[in-house]
Amino acid sequence: MNINYNQNEKVLCIEITEEIDHHAADKIRRKVDNEITRYMPRKTVFDFSRVTFMDSAGIGMIIGRYKMMKLIGGSLEIENVNESSKKILEMSGILKIIPISELKMA
């Protein structure tokens, strides 16, 4: 996981570099919550360009962070979502509340 905070724009960017299952989601959640409380960003962006696998644990993890950002008056976005992760996000219905951008094939 790579974390980058843009102070001027108050945007927290989190590049997830592991497969998102229940095991990884627990770790991502703890780390990201720490960063959000530390910076109180206006927006948190998950960069999914290196996410090669995600199951329903990812849905719970994303909804949890979405709620947290809402609580502090901010927003959440997901960038570079691949085909299979998108299928899972779609099924969960969270695309109605969280904006995403799709991964462009190189």
Binding site: E19, D21, H22, H23, A25, D26, R29, F53, M54, D55, S56, A57, I59, G60, M61, I63, G64, E83, S84, I88, M91, S92
Partner: protein, 159 residues
């Protein structure tokens, strides 16, 4: 003993969350002999990950147990059985419902069974309270038909 299946495998491991990746990668390696598409393989990996995670967090909760996987191949169909000997499911019909979860406090989404059902052709749940749960899933790997002229090319040594 001769198996009625074309191939079979059995896998047992402790209910530790870092075995979730091990389980889905191992099953994917077993399935790869059917030459699935990338999408079919991703679907199977996700379904396995869901079932194995359920054994670990719901079946065994905080205690440790053994998760068992049996994989069987028959023609171009993969059959996967994933079981635990944990607490069991009280109401299977309810558990299958989208968004139903008994562990919302752990940020579970209740989408596990919904994902298994939409990514696999068949999902059966057998569960007895206090004895455990067994999920049996099947998926047919659809072979892409080879075009006539590419067959000809192959016989000419073109490919």
């Amino acid at each position: 003993m001769k198996s009625i299946y074309d191939n079979e495998m059995k896998l047992e491991f402790l209910s530790k969350s870092n075995n979730e990746a091990f389980a889905r990668i191992t099953v994917a390696a077993f399935v790869s002999q059917l030459d699935p598409t990338i999408e079919e393989l991703a679907d199977i990996k996700t379904a396995v990950s869901e079932a194995v995670t359920n054994c670990i967090i719901h079946g065994y909760e905080d205690c440790e147990g053994v998760v068992k996987i049996i994989g069987r191949i028959f023609a171009n169909t993969i059959e996967i059985e994933i079981s635990d000997t944990g607490r069991g499911i009280e109401n299977v019909d309810l558990a299958r419902k989208p968004l139903y979860t008994t562990k919302a406090n752990l940020e579970r989404s209740g989408m596990g069974f919904t994902i298994m059902e939409s990514f696999m052709d068949e999902v059966e749940i057998e569960s007895v309270l206090g004895l455990g749960t067994k999920i049996k899933m099947k998926k047919m790997i659809k072979k892409i038909p080879i075009e006539e002229d590419s067959l000809e090319l192959m016989s000419l040594g073109g490919i």
